[in-house]
């Protein structure tokens, strides 16, 4: 009786999957009109960056892809491996310089930044700011000094209680109100700061989890060797805690990448924002499904690449496994 039920469920599901797969395939090949994607590929990649300067964001993404491939399938030893971490760290400043210009390059305003380039830059920039801030907050929350402990905990809990869109809105509308009159920061930077302030609270909790997992005897062993508290933190405690926190930090990074799409609501033209403006164009009216499927594929790829990179890093940092 049970087995019959099992079999009929299986058959039913198989039939459903087959039907859905067939209609999707049919639509993809016959029904869909992909011109909305194919004619706008440059927009999706670099936004409305001036045509003669497009090589700059494209170059940046090419470097990014090369680094990803080198990291995942490149040589296991040698000078390439040794320089990879440094190259990764240099990616954010390189991107800023290539996009904004200056130092010999033609300056380009942030209004012309867009597409996948802007999505990646928002993710990388805010991640690079949020990680150190999150680590500081986590340390603050575990500090012996009550003032530091309370203010860190207050900040973390407040940030975790409010929706991201409210924080981003705060960044776009309210940060200018809190700055001295005359001082202005541009929209992209404001977005990066708001994202970083938000993500730091979540990162702090992950790092705190890692810190809690380090037995106090590790600190004692370091102290007994004469290491100062700062050295103990830097050389003994943090490396271990960050490694423990890495899987959850990866989830945060993937979440951050996905959340940059919220900037579309506030008028930035990253991947989703570009799509919204394209869909408002009479030439592409009603092409929702094509655009959304295409976007889903791009996000899915980017998130998966990120998760793979993180898994790779996890492996690299595991001393026993990587030394074999």
């Amino acid at each position: 009786m049970n087995r019959w039920l099992d079999r009929s469920i299986t058959l039913l599901i198989l039939a459903l999957i087959g039907w859905a797969g067939w209609s999707l395939l049919h639509w993809l090949l016959v029904g869909a009109d992909w011109s909305v994607v194919t004619t706008n590929l440059p927009l999706y990649a670099v936004g409305s960056f001036p045509a003669d300067q497009r090589w700059r964001p494209l170059l940046w993404m090419a470097v990014l892809i090369t680094l990803t491939l080198l990291t995942l399938v490149g040589p296991k030893r040698g000078w390439v491996r040794r320089w990879l971490p440094l190259a990764w760290i240099a990616m954010a400043p390189l991107g800023l310089w290539l996009l904004a210009g200056g130092l010999g390059l033609l300056p380009v305003g942030t209004r012309s930044w867009g597409g996948l380039t802007l999505t990646l830059l928002l993710t990388g920039g805010s991640g690079a700011l949020a990680l150190p801030l999150g680590i500081l907050l986590a340390l603050g929350r575990r500090s012996d000094l009550p003032v530091l402990r309370w203010s860190s905990a207050g900040y973390i809990e407040l940030m975790r209680a409010v929706p991201l869109i409210a924080v981003l809105f705060f960044g776009q509308l309210l940060i200018p109100l809190f700055l001295p009159p005359g001082l202005e920061i541009n929209r992209v930077l404001r977005a990066v700061v708001a994202f970083a302030l938000f993500a730091a609270a979540y990162i702090a909790e992950d790092v705190r989890g890692g810190l809690q997992a380090i037995p106090p005897t590790q600190r004692e062993a370091a102290a007994v060797l004469g290491l100062s508290p700062v050295q103990t933190l830097q050389l003994v405690v943090l490396p271990q805690a960050l490694r423990i926190a890495l899987p959850s930090l990866t989830n945060q990074a993937v979440g951050l990448l996905q959340n940059t799409s919220l900037m579309a609501i506030l008028g930035l033209v990253e991947l989703l924002g570009i799509s919204r403006s394209l869909l408002a164009n009479p030439a592409f009216i009603g092409r929702y499904l094509e655009v959304y499927l295409w976007l889903a594929a791009v996000y899915w790829l980017a998130c998966t690449a990120m998760a793979l990179l993180a898994r790779h890093l996890e492996f690299q940092l595991d001393p026993v496994r990587s030394s074999r």
Partner: protein, 296 residues
């Protein structure tokens, strides 16, 4: 040593207060410059905008305060419905993933992997513009009447905006809940499954009566944080034009220019929502755990 700590703390306090003071000073200067000032008197003024959806009567001549209240109720409506549906979907998918049926478990696995790698906002737009607005204009179906004007379910009239947000939140949160449920189920010792099977209990019954109750203590705390996430994520409703708390606040701020006050109200209402959810979950938690402990 202790004296040094005191000095450090004093220094930190002064620095924090100075930063706060500087920000507030800048704010004051900016507010004077724009001639707005701070105050909540505007809350009583007529809103002047209509809301597509309201649980209680609302006309444009009603006050901003009332508009915000309606928005809050709309948020509550979609959140509560989302919590229930996402839990059902999540538990079903989580159970399917740990079930013996390989097809069922890989289907659930595919669902989780796909949904979690695509931004929620994109999913919401898909449900709204493709799934619900793609329905025919003339109602179809019997018990449930579907059309791109809205959904009729047993005399209940649901707007397409509400449905899109509800389905989007349910599908997205359900994937996270499925992972939590799977983790909880896997933490129950294998011996428990063998035990109920050897007693001749059916798979489904054993799962419901033996395994899930034991997995609950591990599942509930993680579930609470997913519920809070769902509540926070419901603010993305603004992207499909559902008049939730955030959307109404946004309109209000744009119309009145009262960014600071509007933002504070938004924060307060959100804290209230969070308290409701965590309070409810804590009560549920202790009730369930209490019953589990007593029955042991």
């Amino acid at each position: 040593m202790r004296r040094r700590n005191l000095f450090i703390q004093l220094g930190i306090s002064i620095a924090l207060l100075a930063l706060l003071g500087l920000l507030i000073n800048n704010l004051a200067v900016n507010l004077i410059r724009t001639g707005l000032g701070l105050g909540f008197g505007w809350l009583a003024r007529p809103a002047g905008f209509a809301l597509a959806e309201s649980a209680l009567p609302f006309t444009p001549s009603d006050s901003y305060l009332w508009a915000l209240t309606i928005g809050w109720l709309n948020s509550l409506k979609v959140i509560v419905a989302g919590l229930v549906l996402a839990t059902v979907l999540g538990v079903a998918a989580g159970a399917a993933r740990s079930s013996g049926n390989r097809l069922l478990s890989s289907l659930a696995g595919g669902y989780v992997a796909l949904i979690r790698q695509v931004p929620l906002l994109l999913q919401l737009l898909f449900w709204y513009f493709v799934a619900f607005l793609g329905l025919p204009a003339a109602p179809m179906g019997g018990l449930i009447k579907l059309s791109n004007q809205g959904i009729q379910l047993l005399g209940l009239n649901l707007s397409v905006e509400f449905c899109a947000v509800l389905v989007g939140l349910t599908v997205f949160t359900g994937a996270s809940i499925a992972e939590i449920v799977r983790g909880g189920i896997n933490a129950v010792p294998r011996g428990q499954w063998e035990a109920f099977r050897s007693l001749g209990l059916a798979e489904g019954l054993g799962l419901r009566r033996i395994v899930l109750p034991q997995a609950l203590p591990a599942i509930l705390p993680a579930l609470t944080s997913q519920y809070l996430n769902l509540a926070k994520n419901s603010t993305l409703a603004i992207a499909v034009g559902y008049a939730d708390l955030y959307a109404v606040s946004d309109t209000t701020i744009t119309q009145t220019g009262r960014a600071i006050e509007g933002f504070l109200l938004l924060l307060l209402s959100f804290l209230l929502l969070n308290l409701l959810i965590s309070g409810g979950m804590a009560a549920f938690n202790s009730a369930v755990l209490g019953r589990l402990n007593r029955s042991r």
